[in-house]
Each structure stands twice: as C-alpha cells, then as structure tokens.
Amino acid sequence: MSGSKEVLNVGIDLGTSRSAVSASNGQQHVIESYVGWPVDMVARKVLKKDILIGDEAVANRAMVDLRRPLERGLIKEGSEKDITAVKEILNHLLKLVGVSKDKKAPTVRAVVGIPAEAMRVNKQHLRNALQGTVDSLMIVSEPFAVAYGLDALLNSLVIDIGAGTTDFCVMRGRLPTEEDQRTLTVAGDSIDELLLKLILQKYPDAQITVYMVRQWKEKHGFVGSAQQPVKVTAPIKGRPTPLDITDAMKTACESIVEPIAETLLDLLPRIEPEFQEQVRNSIILSGGTSQIAGLRKALQDSLEPLGGGAVKSVKNPVFDGADGGLAIALDALDSEWDQLT
C-alpha cells in the first residue's frame, strides 16, 4: 500500500559492465557494475571500507576481490557473494538518487532491466536477491525497457550492444518471448580482449591491461576506414612509448560486425512477411558499444541482401535503458505495484 507516503519511481539498467538509474525526482546516475571486497585485513585497513562499489572498486582492484556480479552467468550459480554484490549495486544506485534508509524514505517502486540472458536464467535469483531493497519490484529484459522508452513496441528490432552480450529483441506488439530474442556473446568485452591480444602481438613487451585497452576503444574505436591513425602511449620496459594501434583497433572493432549482421540476416526473414520491411526500417541500436564510429553504417549496409533498411542509434545509450524502466514504472498502475511487492 502506498498510502500517504511519498512515492519515488526509479528505472534501473543493471548491466554487466555499467549500471544506470533514472528516478522520478529527476536524478540520473551511472556507475561501473563492479563490487570489490578488500582481500585481507591490511586492505581493509588501507581502504577503511568493507565494500567498494563502481569506479572506486576498479581503482583499488589490487586490494579487492573484484566482481561484476552479472557477468558470465555468475549469479546463476546463486553464490552468496554475487547476490550480495547485486544488492550492493542496487542500494548504491538508490542512494545516489537520494533514497536514504531512514524513516522518511519514500516508497520506492523500481523497474530493473537486466540483460536478456540473465532474464532467462537468473530472474528468480535476482528477484530473491533484490527483494527487500525496494518496496515494489518489477524485472524486465533490458532491450524491452529500451523499446518501451522509445515507444518502439510494434514492428521494430532493438539491438543492445553492451559489454558482455549483444541482445536482439524483435518487438511485435507483445512482451518479447524466447523466439523474439537472441543473444550473442560478442560485444564490448570481446572487442577489448581481442584488442589486447592484437596489440600484444605487435608490441609483445607493452605493459597494458584490459582496462587501458577499454579506454582506448571507447575513445578511438571505429569500423570501416580510419579517419586518422590511432596512437596511444603505454609503458614498454617501464618507459612510456608511443604505440600505433590503428590496425588492431579496426580489426577488433570489426570483429563484432559479421556475427551481428549474420544474426540479423537470420532473424529478419523469420518475421511475418508483411511486417518484415517495417522492421528492417526500424532497427534501433542501443548499449555502450553501439557508439563505435561507423558501426551503425556498417550494420545498415549489411541489410543490402534483404533489400536494405534503416538502422538508427538511440540518442543516449547510457540512460536509454534506465529511462525506459522509469517510463514503465510511471505507467504501471498503483494496483499493479501493490501486487509486485
């Protein structure tokens, strides 16, 4: 029962690599989906904390047991630690939008979008895990939240290219079912790992990590022809050295194009013929990795064999999922929220 208490609606995008929140009080925040526990007494003393979230956890990764709880099906095993980690992320996001644990706290209604894969296997675990952190909870698949927020519920196709996975979701005017969805495990992370390997092939002594490589990708990632050479600096034998990673960047970023295009070519012809053209012309790219320069164009070109189509990018890949969740939260009826406790 909401009663006279104030209500705060929140939409949360619980991603493998980043999690975002949009709240009805206008607050929006994004954090890295990392949780870290100090590895030992010393680390705890140094960090003065029992648990670290987001950037802080990553920054201190040498001293913490670092987890991305939604990564690679981890939570599916139901490990206590991963469940706690998901809870911590959620609590942290709520704190960021101003939910405190005191008596005056508003009634919180949350729509949490999770990767489609997690939706298939972890829904129950997640619900158990998140139970109690908010007053009412609705869990939806991330691409569905995006589609809802963009009002693209009929005859469109959302491709959410995130960190761990690329999720395809055909919207045909109903809640997406298993057959409307596909998941590929090529996405941002697989680019990072390939990029790391390729750079090391060229510069075997370069002291680089996947975290450095990820930043370079976010800044300079591209597919197609290079606008300018990609040059970065990294230590080799301890000395900062300029590296030309243009070719490696191109190869790594392009590694996701073919699998995504193939999936498109497999998915589209399965749609009822009379709607195919419409869907082909409303393909929506979301997720952080969709920001790679030239990717949208490359995917649009890949539709040629089917007679062409239009691929659009969402305006705000960081918050589109959370905004979609918030829209759902606001649209749901009080009576529905009362059931979802």
Partner: protein
C-alpha cells in the same frame, strides 16, 4: 497511454507475478514439498534424494541374508516417481531395523565398466562461463567429443548427453544416464573463479555437506518423514559411505590425479584443487558412479589462451581418458581377485 502500451505493460506485470508465484510453484513441483517454500529449499531434497537413491541401489543388490526384507520392494526407475511415493519412508523404517551396513564388498557385484555417458556441461542459450570469445558450452562439447573418440578406441561404449549446441536440463541429463544404464557418468565443465590469478582443476562427486544452511533445510524437509535429524544424519552418512559414493570417489580421484599430472606438465602454474564433494543436481539423480570435473579455468587469461588451442583440449581429453581407464582397471582387478 495507448492501448498497446497498456497491454504489453500488463503482460510484463503478469510475467513478474508468475515469477513471484513460481517461487512457490517450483518447490512444490519438485514434489515432497507441498506448501509454499523458497527456492533454496530445493536443496533440501538433496539428502532425501540421496537416501532414496541409495536405498534403491541397496534394494537392488543381490539378496544377502540380512537384506532380504528390503529387496522385496522393487526399485522404481524414475527418481521423481520414487520421491513421489511414500515408499522411501517404509524403506527407511525397514532400514533402521537392520544392522549397520558395512562398506560394500565389491565382490558382491558383477561389475564391469562398459558404458560411459559423457556430459558436456551447458549448451544452447546456457553458455556457461565465458572467457573472451570462448564459451564453456563450446569447450565442454569439444573436449567431450575428443574424449569419446579416445574411449571408443578402447572398446568402450560411449554416449553423450548432447552432441550439438543445445540446452538440456540437468534432470534430463541424469535421466538419460539412468535410462541408458550407463556404468559411469562423467560431466565436463570449465570453472570460473573470482580470484582470476588462480588456475586450477577440481573434480567433484556427490557427498554430504557441512553447510549449516543445507542441514537446516534438510531438517525441515525430513520432519515430514517422521525421523529426527539426529536419526537421519548418521543414516545418511553411513549410506553415503556406501557403494555409490565410494565408487564415485575412486573415479574422481583417478580422474583428478590424471588431469593434474598431465596438465601440470604443460601448464606449470596449475593448482591441484583436489577432489571435493558437492550436491550437484546431476550427481544427485544419477544412479551410477558419477563425477563432475572442472577441467580448467576460463577466468584465468592464460588458461583461456591455452583452451583456445586444440592441443590443450586434446591434452585434457587424454587425461580424462586415462583417469577413466584407470578406474575401470581398478574395478577389473578387484573382480579378478575376487573370482
């Protein structure tokens, strides 16, 4: 808001409600439980299943004098059907009146290892753990296929729970093993450890746990059987030390030793994480010696690199084959000595 939006939103709400509902349904659907209980309670079935399982194995033994009474009861083949009946309670009553069972004498069994069911972990939309472009499901299938060839060359009959990329429930996997009357069940998995520096292999077999949560859950479940935990626990332990567990342990040790010995040569930093017990579902419901081997760690970058190379996967398959062969030979020797 337009009608379509409202309609879809309603579907989303309903789906969530059914998840909430499912929490209750799930525990009652897996029988024994009839009232609404949290999902975790499923684990409480582990000891019960184990009891029933062993009771059935034991009931199926050649009738030695003191077992006669129990072997009147024909074993039922479907593990869930068994649970659904109250027969295990009766069996247990009988069982309690009997003298404490000694560890099984292997010679009582016309044992021979002929049929091996390989179980490549995960599949289909269940990728298992992932490392870069590598998915556990792909690696386990590849290794199982290599292993199958090796074992077949040795003249063993080999089947696989899956030969392609598809999802199969754990229950089905165990059911396949039971239906085919496999002599051994070997489930192949790749690990993922939070401490990513660690690379290691470990082999599991079904066994009791000290986890207080499981014990508490078992207590709740067992209440219905009319026994106190104090009576139940030693019973479980005795039975566990019995036939299946002992055999599974031997198999696990053989496989673990062989895996570690041969992989350590090419992967010197490898950790021997040893043989462990755990209540994995596939191990609970299989009616033959069964193990689950975590043959490598995708969480470790170097291991991931190694796993991407065919020769390393071949190495793993060879090691598994050696372990299985070693176990089969052990059995053979006991038999020969016995006869």
């Amino acid at each position: 808001m337009d009608r379509l939006k409202r309609q879809i939103l309603r579907q989303a709400v309903d789906e969530n409600l059914s998840t909430i509902e499912g929490r209750r349904l799930e525990s009652s659907a897996s029988n024994v439980t009839t009232s609404g209980r949290p999902t975790l309670l499923r684990w409480a079935l582990v000891p019960i299943l184990a009891v029933v399982l062993v009771v059935v194995v034991w009931a199926a033994r050649p009738p030695l004098e003191s077992w006669q009474q129990a072997s009147r009861k024909p074993p039922q083949s479907d593990p869930t059907a068994r649970l659904a009946t109250a027969s295990h309670e009766v069996d247990l009553t009988d069982r309690l009146l009997f003298p404490v069972p000694r560890p099984m004498d292997m010679r009582a069994f016309p044992l021979e290892v002929r049929r091996i069911l390989l179980d490549p972990g995960h599949g289909g939309d269940d990728h298992g753990t992932l490392g870069g472009a590598l998915a556990e499901k792909t690696l386990t299938l590849d290794i199982a296929q290599r292993l199958a060839k090796l074992l077949e060359k040795d003249g063993l009959e080999v089947e696989m729970t899956r030969r392609d990329d598809r999802r199969i429930s754990l229950k089905e996997r165990a059911a396949q093993a039971n239906a085919w009357q496999a002599d051994l069940f070997v489930s192949i998995h790749i690990n993922w450890l939070a401490t990513r520096q660690v690379r290691g292999i470990e082999t599991y077999y079904l066994g009791p746990t000290d986890d207080p949560r499981l014990i508490e859950l078992a207590r709740l479940e067992n209440r219905q059987s009319g026994y106190r935990l104090a009576e139940m626990k030693p019973l479980l332990e005795e039975i566990y030390t019995d036939y299946l567990q002992g055999q599974s342990l031997q198999l696990a040790q053989r496989v673990q030793r062989s895996l570690f010995a041969s992989l350590h040569k090419v992967n010197p930093q490898l950790k021997n994480r040893g043989v462990k017990t755990a209540p994995f579902v596939v191990l609970v419901s299989t009616e033959m010696p069964a193990i689950l081997a975590e043959v490598s760690c995708l969480s470790n970058q170097e291991e991931e690199e190694l796993l991407s190379r065919p020769y390393y996967r071949d190495h793993i398959a060879q090691a598994l084959a050696r372990g299985i062969r070693g176990y089969a030979d052990d059995i053979h020797q006991i038999e020969e000595k016995g006869s």
